[in-house]
């Protein structure tokens, strides 16, 4: 599903969306997704379906509210997975010809009404094993302090984030959360979360985000 598709008559299903490619006369290919339509001059190029961070109308953070609170012992650490929203970018060469949101779109205010930020919002469990989902974030939690630490939600920076894909799955880069004494520190490492995943973007990290308003 993710990856390259030849510009020939075919039908591609991606999440809840359907893409039709129809070969037209004189080497033209018609791209259709719902009401969206593009006319592409073939020229031997391929159509790329790539995962994109779920920035929605233009937010910079993703907030995942956990169904159950995670509790981490002093000096402890463990890893797990989140099923998270992603978006799809359709490209020819380096040109984006379509971009769409799959699944549920929802936002929330992270922080106070005076100083907070609007974040993409998702509710889900913290999985120990990789879940069957389209968008996945692998998270490593560590608690270097001498106190027990709890976490109700995970917020990490996504605007401009590198993405990865492997088959039908889209991945955010590996997310490291350090439960420090004052605020949890979140690092979007830019690194591949699983082996063999194809990178989309520069691989640059988005480091040192502090979850100031973690309750």
């Amino acid at each position: 599903m993710f990856g390259e598709h030849r510009l020939k008559t075919q039908f591609i299903k991606i999440a809840d969306q359907k893409i039709h490619l129809v070969e037209d006369r004189k080497g033209l290919v018609r791209y259709r997704r719902g009401n969206i339509e593009r006319l592409i001059k073939g020229d031997g190029e391929v159509l790329k379906l790539l995962p994109a961070p779920a920035v929605g109308y233009g937010v910079s953070l993703l907030m995942v509210k956990l169904r159950e609170r995670i509790v981490v012992p002093p000096k402890g650490s463990f890893q797990g997975f989140l099923d998270v929203p992603v978006e799809i970018d359709v490209e020819i060469g380096n040109l984006s010809i379509d971009h769409f949101i799959v699944g549920r779109e929802k936002y929330a205010l992270y922080g106070t009404i005076e100083n907070g930020k609007i974040a993409r919002y998702h509710v889900g469990p913290f999985y120990v094993d990789e879940p069957e989902a389209m968008g996945i974030a692998k998270v490593i939690l560590s608690n270097p302090t001498k106190e027990w630490k709890g976490l109700d939600r995970i917020i990490f920076p996504i605007r401009g984030s590198t993405m990865y894909y492997k088959g039908n799955r889209a991945y955010y880069p590996l997310i490291l959360i350090t439960l420090k004494d004052h605020f949890p520190e979140v690092n979007n490492t830019g690194k591949a979360p699983v082996e063999g995943a194809v990178r989309v973007g520069s691989g640059e990290p988005l480091p040192n985000f502090r979850m100031r308003w973690e309750g």
Partner: protein, 365 residues
């Protein structure tokens, strides 16, 4: 008056002063001007050629080429007049040379300030554009003001400025009163720069005016109203007004009221409304939306809906009504679930029994 003597010298009379110039001087002056003119042409052509290949088009462009052309032509004309000795002529105790120098300094300082202002705005990162626009304007006015006084000094008028101003006493008072509003607006503009009650791009309400701040100038602020009209608000008025910034904070609460019939289950209606709010992307999950019975009205049980939405998506009217049709979605959901939204109705009671009289026409039918 022009005289030509036997040795070929030309004498031109400027009032009480006579300027004598030799034929050699005239030829030199003409040559100087022609050479300057040609150099100006070459420089202009060179800059225009460069502008087609350089990436620094902000500095090497037609505008710059024209400026350099003008500058060289003016300087060569200036020098030619100097060769002729015309510039030694005095006007009110100041030589023409000083006056021309002053004008030239002021003109090119003005051009430099204008170019720098444009450059500052153009090179500003998007997130600092608003701030940079105000800074660039302040820089521009500061340079122009300094250049003005510098030019006065070069022209030898600064020493007489106070005398001139004193002499113009009554005129000054009149002008002072007339320019009071201008000065007030100017000072308010400066104060607004530091106080920052609003920025370019903010959505604001000032009195009856509501729209996006389009530009903050030194005397006035321009607001593009939601209907696309331009409203100019003098800075002084704006500074003393109550400014409501509609997008200062990240989220705003939208409020709706709708009524259901008395016979309907209010809690069920609230549950349906909450489901619609949950499905609406731009109704924030945090802070949570709310729906509650606000009032037992004349014709309906009125339910109030509070929904927080991203401020940046608020455009003109209530975002949820205008752009995303939330009210309509709620109405459709209630209708689908069989919840009645009543018309206004009135129950009339009569103190005595009504007597009904049938007319002949009705009896026949």
């Amino acid at each position: 008056m022009i005289d030509i003597n036997a040795s070929g010298n030309v004498t031109i009379g400027f009032g009480p002063t006579n300027v004598t110039m030799s034929v050699g001087n005239i030829i030199t002056a003409i040559a100087v001007f022609i050479v300057g003119f040609l150099i100006a042409k070459v420089v202009k052509h060179y800059i225009l050629t460069l502008s087609k290949s350089t990436k620094y088009v902000w500095v090497l462009n037609e505008d710059t080429a024209r400026t350099f052309y003008n500058m060289i032509v003016i300087i060569s004309a200036f020098y030619a007049l100097h060769v002729l000795g015309v510039l030694s002529y005095k006007v009110s105790g100041t030589s023409l040379s000083d006056i021309f120098t002053a004008l030239t300094v002021f003109y090119f300082s003005y051009l430099l300030a204008k170019k720098s202002k444009d450059y500052m705005v153009m090179r500003a990162p998007k997130e600092k554009l608003n701030e940079m626009q105000v800074k660039a304007k302040l820089f521009y006015y500061t340079v122009v003001t300094i250049a003005f006084f510098l030019a006065l000094n070069i022209a030898g008028l600064s020493g007489r400025l106070s005398t001139i101003m004193a002499a113009a006493g009554i005129t000054g008072v009149v002008l002072g009163i007339a320019s009071q509003a201008v000065v007030a607006n100017f000072l308010a503009g400066i104060a607004m720069y530091f106080d920052k009650p609003l920025r370019i791009g903010d959505a604001v309400r000032i009195g009856n005016v509501e729209g996006i701040v389009h530009d903050i100038r030194i005397l006035s602020t321009r607001i593009r109203a939601w209907d696309g009209t331009l409203v100019r608000v003098p800075n002084e008025k704006l500074f003393n007004s109550e400014i409501v910034n509609l997008q200062k904070y990240p989220a705003r609460r939208a409020e709706l009221t709708l009524g259901i019939a008395y016979r309907e289950d209010a809690q069920r209606a609230i549950d349906i409304i909450m489901k619609v709010l949950d499905e609406e992307p731009y109704v924030l999950a945090v802070p949570e939306p709310r729906a509650y019975v606000e009032e037992l009205g004349d014709s309906a049980v009125n339910i109030r809906v509070w929904a927080w939405v991203p401020s940046s998506l608020w455009r003109g009217q209530n975002l949820l009504r205008a752009e995303y049709g939330l009210l309509q979605k709620i109405r459709d959901a209630l209708k689908r679930e069989g919840i009645e939204i009543p018309f206004p109705q009135r129950v009339n009671w009569f103190a005595e029994p009504l007597r009904i009289k049938f007319t002949d026409d009705e009896q026949e039918s």
